[in-house]
Symmetry: C2
């Protein structure tokens, strides 16, 4: 499992054995059961997550309704905005499947980064990359219709459609569950 982590890191920087051991000594690995809530609205958290195996989702509760806005699966990372802004969280994070995560703490990160400036460079590269990726996702979302967004998802992340309940997919795609259901029926109709 550690290999996955080092393989990921090697895309950005190369690590000495010393550095690898320093990382491992931080005891970042955490195994989490399906349904576990990692963060609640109103909490002050300093934790960032990296998914080695499984899936976590972020959602808001608005007028009693869950609005899912993102899923993070294998080799994806998420730092909640509340950690960056040092404000109470506006959303929830929960585990969609039994998962294996890396959980890091922003204070500990700072400490490590100051000891190994290399990590700082990696974090910069990684967050620049995420920023660009998220920008493209956002642009695609803005410029397409709900139906087109579903078709895009089918293309780009077919796994999500399998592993995620439909009512969560719906708000992820910016619509109501009933609309997603209808839209899927419409697409099947068209095909035949």
């Amino acid at each position: 499992m550690q290999d996955l982590l080092f393989e990921f890191i090697s895309k950005y920087i190369s690590l000495s054995n010393d550095e690898k051991n320093a990382l491992l000594s931080l005891d970042l690995f955490r195994s989490v059961k399906k349904g576990t809530v990692l963060l609640k609205e109103g909490q002050n958290s300093k934790e960032s997550y990296f998914v080695l195996k499984g899936c976590i989702r972020t959602y808001y509760v608005m007028e009693g309704e869950e609005k899912t806005t993102a899923f993070y699966t294998e080799m994806e990372a998420f730092t909640p905005p509340c950690v960056i802004n040092k404000t109470p969280s506006e959303n929830y994070i929960s585990c969609l499947e039994d998962s294996l995560l890396l959980v890091s703490n922003s204070e500990m990160e700072e400490e490590v980064n100051s000891k190994f400036p290399k990590f700082d460079i990696m974090c910069r590269m990684f967050s620049e990359e995420l920023l660009a990726k998220q920008r493209i996702d956002f642009d695609e979302f803005k410029t397409s219709s709900p139906e087109q967004r579903y078709l895009n998802l089918l293309q780009n992340r077919p796994d999500l459609i399998q592993r995620v309940p439909q009512y969560q997919l719906a708000s992820y795609l910016g619509m109501k569950p009933q609309s997603l259901s209808r839209l899927r029926a419409r697409i099947l109709e068209k095909k035949s």
Copy 2:
């Protein structure tokens, strides 16, 4: 004008006079006329932008139509995804008003960062902050209706509604110009 830059930077790190001079010697300031196209679809660019004064916008051309996805105004920065991914650009960037920009080059940035690791830390902090901000914007977009998105914009960035043509605002809000026009009329109606 340099003061604005240094004031901005001071939110993240503190600079010695040496470092300030190193920055200034890079000759980053560029004054740009309204309508200037800074980046075209298909181009390979290495430029990042920081707006000191004025406004730039990013847009796609899809089936002959412009789809505006973002505006950047005073003290906001933008690095096109194509610079990060080293791929041809999918979108355009143009100047909405006569503007004063900081234009930096990714190669030059790397050089400066390796000379002044402090800059690297600043870039990491800044892009983490942008990532969190953009995440919140994206979530807000997903979870609201077109009308609600317009009302939110009215709250959060009333300046944009003044300085940006409506047909560009429309696609920024994920709808057609006619819909925005109608929706505005509807809101006025409600108020009275």
